[in-house]
């Protein structure tokens, strides 16, 4: 399988390598760190996920399907989580697409959205990805999802295909470690 997706010529970044923490717009202390292998807090987050925030069929809604889907997502590629007082409130992941590039997705619990967490999670994920030698990342997003599209553009994603229900966007990273 070859990767025939277009990528920007320009490299984006540098991004931050987790762990790091910050205060969100509601002054909640949020920690961003690499996924430590404990799936249960993530399962709890996805069980609490607002069904209205699902996109393109993910995350699944039933616990059994959440676990099956997480097994695929967590298997390969970097995963970064955002926590607030020991609860996982956000998750961003890169999954290999079989061509050397990675597909990105990010999920933030409803009550933690629009607080600057998504930006930091993406920053940490792309930092972790660069550090792991990843240089090409892409994603699809529903065309009407302006807040998500704005967020992706802010970190450097460019639209590569706008002809379907979903926009396709991509970013080029420098595959090198960046100090936090």
């Amino acid at each position: 399988m070859t990767d025939d997706r277009p990528y920007p010529d320009e490299v984006s970044g540098p991004f931050r390598t987790p762990p790091f923490s910050f205060d969100d717009r509601l002054d909640r202390r949020i920690e961003v760190r690499a996924f430590d292998g404990d799936e249960e807090p993530l399962v709890a987050m996805y069980r609490a996920f607002d069904p209205a925030d699902r996109a393109q069929g993910i995350p699944p809604s039933r616990e059994e399907e959440i676990r099956e889907w997480l097994a695929v997502v967590l298997d390969e590629g970097p995963d970064v989580v955002a926590s607030h007082s020991d609860e996982v409130v956000g998750h961003a992941t890169l999954v290999p697409d079989g061509t050397g590039a990675f597909e990105l997705a990010i999920f933030v619990l409803d009550e933690y959205q629009a607080a600057g967490i998504g930006t930091r999670l993406l920053d940490g994920l792309l930092g972790q990805g660069s550090a792991a030698g990843i240089d090409r990342v892409w994603l699809t997003v529903e065309r009407w999802n302006t807040p998500a599209i704005d967020l992706y553009q802010k970190v450097g994603f460019e639209t590569t295909d706008a002809e379907s229900f979903e926009l396709e966007m991509s970013i080029r990273l420098s595959a090198a470690s960046v100090p936090a």
């Binding site: 069929g57 695929v72 597909e103 990105l104 979903e166």
Partner: protein, 122 residues
Amino acid sequence: MKVLLGIGGTDDSYRALETTIERATEAADDLTVAVLDNPESDPDPDDVARKAETRLAEASLDADVVRLEGDPGSQLVEVAERDGFDRIVLGGGERSPMGKLTIGHVAEFVILNATRTVTLVR
């Protein structure tokens, strides 16, 4: 019911073929399989047509297999109207490595422009 199934050779189009054959057998639908020029999938339309014919023969279902050349979405919509089909059936989208569902622009065009009922098979 007169059913027009559009397939372009993607995995989801073959899943739609299987489901539609099952349903047509149960409901005695009058099925026509239209092989599309799909810019989003590589397979040779002749191979796709042969595969469809084989599956129909295995299922002992008598259905026409036709080639629709040109823009797949507008061709499907036009044929459905011209030949009095009740329903257009298409694959319901491909899953990305992440599991995200993406719907191709053939499906989008048909959903927005068809004057017949449209079914996307999951």
